[in-house]
Amino acid sequence: MPSVSMSVNGKSVSGEVEARTLLVEFLREHLRLTGTHVGCDTSQCGACVVHVDGDSVKSCTMLALQAEGSDVKTIEGVANGDELHPMQEAFRENHGLQCGFCTPGMVMSALELVKRNPDPSEREVREWLEGNFCRCTGYHNIVKSILAGAVAMRS
């Protein structure tokens, strides 16, 4: 079996995988990082969004082997120890999550938005979330959370 190595949340990891192993399967099943979720099989729902070399990607639509040598960040690597990242804190303070299943993907997606656009408008947030589905919140508080998170990250 091919072997793969990468950095995940700052730690070097490696493993033997079938070529068909998706990045999300490698994270969840090999590394037991189960914060990254699988909500669909058509690359649309965004529950599996992680960062690869700083860009948000759907880890269900990338082979583990494609991430060879990459720097991968998952939801487990966002907080600073016990201290939540300002974006995570904003989701908490604005009730931006209910069942919590879409949440990791939402946070990872939001972090990239704010990196590229530190002061997004409500419309820009809504359009950015094209690839992140939520069934619980009606997006109202997710949008509020991301706007608040952007403010917190600017300060």
Binding site: R28, T34, G39, C40, Q98, V125, G138
Partner: protein, 787 residues
Amino acid sequence: MTETGIGAAVLRTEDRRFLTGSGKFTDDINRPGQTYAHILRSPHSHAKIRKIDTASAAAADGVVAVFTGADLEGVGGIPCGFAPDGGPMNEPPHPVIADETVRYVGDRVAVVIAETLNQARDAAELISIDYETLPCVVATADAVNATTQLHADAPRNICFEWQIGDKEATDQAFANAHHVAQLDLINSRLIPNALEPRAAIGEYDVGNDSYTLYTTSQNPHVVRLLMGAFVLSIPEHKLRIVAPDVGGGFGSKIPHYPEEAIVTWAAQKVRRPVKWTAGRSESFLSDTHGRDHVTHGELALDEDGAFLGLRVKTTANLGAYLSTFGPLIPTYLYGTLLSGQYSTPAIHCEVTAVFTNTAPVDALRGAGRPEATYLVERLVNIAAAETGIDPVELRRRNLIPSDAFPYQTPVALEYDSGNYAGLLDEGLKVADMSGIGARRIDAESRGKLFGVGYSTYIEACGLAPSNVAGVIGARAGLYEAADVRIHPTGSVTVFTGSNSHGQGHETTFAQLVSDGLGVPIENVEVVHGDTDRVPFGMGTYGSRSLAVGGSAIMKSIDKLVEKGKKIAAHTLEASADDMLFQDGVFSVAGTDKTVSIAEVALTAYVPHNYPLEQLEPGLDETTFYDPINFTFPAGCHICEVEIDAETGAVEISNYSAVDDVGRIINPMIVAGQVHGGIAHGAGQALLEGCVYDDAGQLVSGSFMDYTMPRASNLLQFKLGSQVTLCPHNPLGAKGCGEAGTIASTAAVMNAVTDALTPLGVTHIDMPATAQNVWQAIHTAPTQQAAE
């Protein structure tokens, strides 16, 4: 109100684990020695299985076992939990794995268990099946006259015929009517699509001959009862059901599903844990679907616009088999709601429930009540348009007055409290109706069609009491259980039968305890979702958790305080009758003698100085709370839309909602529930629609073809609130989980038709997609005249 007590917007205690990726959903669990199940499903909507050959699959790499229906000797079918009025109801067998016939695309044919999921899937392709395809019936309206019959014991594909209300009085009302508004509508079929796909892990302990099932359920005890008693004959003390973090349900995780029985049964056969996780495409096929009615409705009015009578005929599609609560939804959760907020004196509703070659239909957020509200509110709007009475005015003339409660409707329910005119007034205020003229002019100046829609809805939550539930056909009680345990050092664990799948029970219930026992909220833990840990509970659905489950907690808190007073009285050498309790401190009235609840707890567990002859040690109280009535949330939702007439694209430009959900424990959580509900109902109105083709193939079988509401489809909602307390439960709470959905579908569709009325369009069926709106405009009478 304290910072963490009743009424405080306490931030959720469960959020940290979800935000850091340490939540524990079923698919996050792996058990030692675990195998993986892949379920082979029927590609045909209706076919006889002539022959199945599993030999090659069984011999494939990594395969542990292959089972078909023939292997399931002694396994019962999936039971149904409701028969309207106790029957008669045609209740055909619902095999866990199909035996001779498959009846919908997605029906289970075989299960392959292997060392890896890929091996199970690879092997499933080696199973060869000789099908003899049969004619199918898919459309609800075609079922009773179809040439094919799904079940031998259900002639004309009828499951049951049911009615409610006084037919004679209603016919008389129509005979005397000044005006009759009529409507034929289809309430579309929906696919629930909780973001977490269903999953189940079965495990068998050889040493104890006992089973554990981890499953994505809203109600683990119901699953244990149904699966243990009816399907697998496993006694309850040998069967543990665990629903860990559950990623949304919306009704689709109420039913007991065949896959749960398959993995549990198979784990015993292969003597290893068996895990199954649905792919999303599999969820589309195999989760229960929602709604799917074909309805004719008529509303009779007198010359002043007073409603005289409502007459309804509905055909409801139950799918190929009966799901757990399938028959409840289009009967007692639908017909009983047809009075709405109105004092309509005579109502009669007939429902024919049918089988078709489609996935089983069961509860979906609102379950029956959105169907009723949509029909009533659309009819009211049509009546307004036809009589020339303003839709707000027509509603106002017919609202049940606030001094009429308790109000007995003609369709069985007794509304307990409410102020509907107040809700309407507040709704108009929150929606800023004084500015609507300017908004219309603005929209029209941008070339848009503008419309406004109202929905003044009623909801009934917390189906109760159990004896009435039994009379109307429930094969279960509908109480809720709570065990509140104060530990020796004063911290508290709540064991509740209400099982959170996103609603924030861990916070709201902790607030009740913090408030009632004066304990810091961080010292309260709420445990749910494990039949080995919590008392027999009925679960979370029908917006019942706070009104029923929360009330059970309140009753336990009362018992703890009563017992605590006796212990404190002993400690303080006073009479229990003189004891007061506030903010966690027991005191003797008129003195400065006090003892804290933590000290009382320690005394209860270390009863050295304790009235042992009168009182048991310990501080732990369990309640099974059975409400005396439903609760009746109500509200007024107002939606504005703008329509691009050239493309038909509809955009919600304003949405406001004023709801009366009774006592609010956590306003932040309540608002979140309303937001999500609005989005779900708006999704049905504008975006979502399950489509089967004539052969019974699911055309909308993935997110590529089934439109989920996205952030860009919606906007920030404007919320208001009004509180009338529920008079019959200890909290005064009514329920908020479904209100948004029940209201919003009608509000949005009334806005869409309002915008299209000038073009001569009086009704369009959901979803009001751009294509459907364009089609309606294109074929409208005024458009044709112009062409």
